[in-house]
């Protein structure tokens, strides 16, 4: 693993996409299955998941809590909590298989080629370290920067994520920053080595709506610079605003895949339709909010057929017999349903 040369740090103009051969996906996951032994038996929080993210694309994963969204992200990062492990499938980053790499090789990729930001910017920063130091840490690990270059690039990164008074902020501690600023620091930290792929796990859930809008705009600007983004959220509003394509996940499986506009105009899977109906919309006036009856199934006792079957309004006998396969409806639109 050669160290990248320490350059200036303008990632928005960097154009990562140009460096890759045409047609190569930034991230290509196929047939990914994660097994997690528990006291009562083995569960599969991620089961036969395939997805791809093209250069400069923002792709969303949406689903209820516990449907396997975050576990998918961790599997891509190679950070599944023990004793879980990947038992099948492949994860390709810019054409290179990374699922079977050694811990040392994965460490070299993490932070430099894939990065991740979390929901909780309060606790994702070390409380006793100055934020400038924390942001520069990834840089010092993955490149041979001098202290001075690292400082300059950290400062540039703070400017890029629009942190006001960046020089003063470098020397502050996390508790001196607001939630929105902390999330910006997290993004600066994730982007400092210009990764090809940024995984954003519920990046705006803990923030209020005005800050949410700013962070989403920031993600869009990163995309314009060529970074691919995998955005995980249960908030359909967030997904609709920034994503090009969406995967709907349920009980560890992908139920529907479509371009965002297509999914929102004509959702095919009953679960997708339920999710859309259950989200707030100002246009629909004062009707009571619809909900999907029931809860996420226990992964230890999944039904034999379609995982969503027990909660589905259009369930038929064939749904109980076997799990439907993902079926292509039209180009780029696939659904796991018999109807």
């Amino acid at each position: 693993m050669q160290n990248p040369k320490c350059g200036d740090g303008d990632w928005f103009a960097a154009g990562m996409a140009a460096a890759q051969p045409r047609g190569t996906q930034t991230l290509e996951v196929s047939g990914l299955t994660v097994a997690l032994p528990t006291e009562k038996g083995e569960i599969r929080p991620v089961s036969d998941v395939s997805l791809r993210v093209a250069p400069g694309e923002i792709v969303g994963i949406v689903g209820e809590s516990g449907c396997g969204k975050s576990m998918t992200a961790r599997a891509v990062m190679g950070l599944i909590p023990a004793p879980g492990r990947i038992i099948a499938g492949s994860v390709r980053l810019a054409g290179r298989e990374i699922a079977g790499l050694s811990e040392r090789e994965k460490r070299a990729i993490r932070g430099s080629e894939i990065s991740m930001i979390f929901q909780e910017p309060m606790s994702s920063l070390n409380p006793v370290m100055k934020v400038g130091w924390q942001v520069a840490e990834a840089l010092r690990l993955h490149s041979d920067c001098t202290r001075e270059e690292a400082r300059t690039r950290t400062l540039a990164a703070f400017r890029e994520v629009e942190i006001p008074e960046p020089e003063a902020r470098l020397r502050q501690y996390p508790h001196q920053l607001s939630g929105g600023l902390r999330q910006r620091v997290m993004i600066a930290m994730a982007m400092i080595c210009r990764p090809k792929l940024l995984i954003a796990d519920e990046p705006t859930t803990a923030l209020d709506v005005t800050v949410e809008a700013q962070i989403l705009r920031l993600l869009e600007r990163l995309r314009e610079g060529g970074t691919s983004i995998l955005l995980i959220s249960h908030n359909l509003g967030v997904i609709a605003r920034v994503c090009d394509r969406v995967y709907v996940m349920y009980a560890g499986r992908i139920l529907e895949e479509a371009e965002t506009t297509v999914l929102f105009d004509q959702p095919l899977h009953p679960y997708s339709r339920g999710l859309l109906r259950a989200s707030l919309s100002l246009r629909e006036g004062v009707e009571p909010l619809e909900t999907i009856p029931g809860g996420v199934p226990n992964l230890l006792r999944l039904p034999a057929g379609c995982g969503f079957g027990p909660r589905c309004a259009c369930r038929r006998s064939e749904c109980d017999a076997a799990m439907p396969e993902l079926r292509v409806v039209e180009a780029g639109h696939r659904v796991r349903c018999f109807h």
Binding site: R110, S115, F118, S123, M129
Partner: protein, 282 residues
Amino acid sequence: MTERFSDLMRRMARENKTAVASGAVILLMLLAAAFGPMMTPYGENDMDLMNRLAPPSAAHLLGTDEGGRDVLTRLLYGARISLLIGVAPALLSLAVGAALGMIAGYRGGFADTLIMRMADVTLAFPSMLLAMVLMYALGGGILNVFLTLTLVNWASVARVVRSRTLQLRDSEFVEAARISGVSGGRIVRRHILPNCLPTLLALFTLNIPATILTESGLSFLGLGVQPPFASWGLMINAGQQYLMTAPWLCFAPGLAIMMIVLAFNFLGNGLLDVLDPRRKKR
């Protein structure tokens, strides 16, 4: 832990006068140990056989011992040994205990089991008994006292640090560091250790009196520091046979031990109160 360290110290100074007074006593003792011996007209081992067992007077403020040596002078020299023996093994056991505790907490699995069972075995014996056995096996001398006190005290530090590490290991900033590609060793050194420092500081101040007491006990039994070095425990040991005729021989070092132990305990508790949110006053 969102408050700055300096803010915490200021809060302790405001709320806990005992801790502040204890800090002053400790500072005074340190100054006395450092500069006191230069100010007395007598040497540590200056005998004056014409003046044995003299009661406190203007010439000898705390009297003289069975060899006619000035007790105050010996007390000041003894303070050097006793404080050194309080601080150095406390630091050593802190370093050893923190390192092993962090390894056990972060690595888990076999390393955790091995280190924690070793700690359990150490803690299963009364510490004085263990120290006596070790000193008996190793022989006297200051270095062996250091070694013994470290071996006796590392286990409780390791336990506390391990539980703190377990907490920190699952925190999101450690996860964030792993996502940036930071290695395990570096996470422990740069992310977990700095977050353990307040706990370690409090443990340190509580460990000092424990080691001073153990050393005094060992020296009293003749297993610790060997004459002609003066240590407070040794002075009590020498003075006990004159307890009826010259009680100042035992009282002076005894009072000194009591004061320094109480002062460190009060300060340590004060530190724990402000550093550990679960110990907030009800």
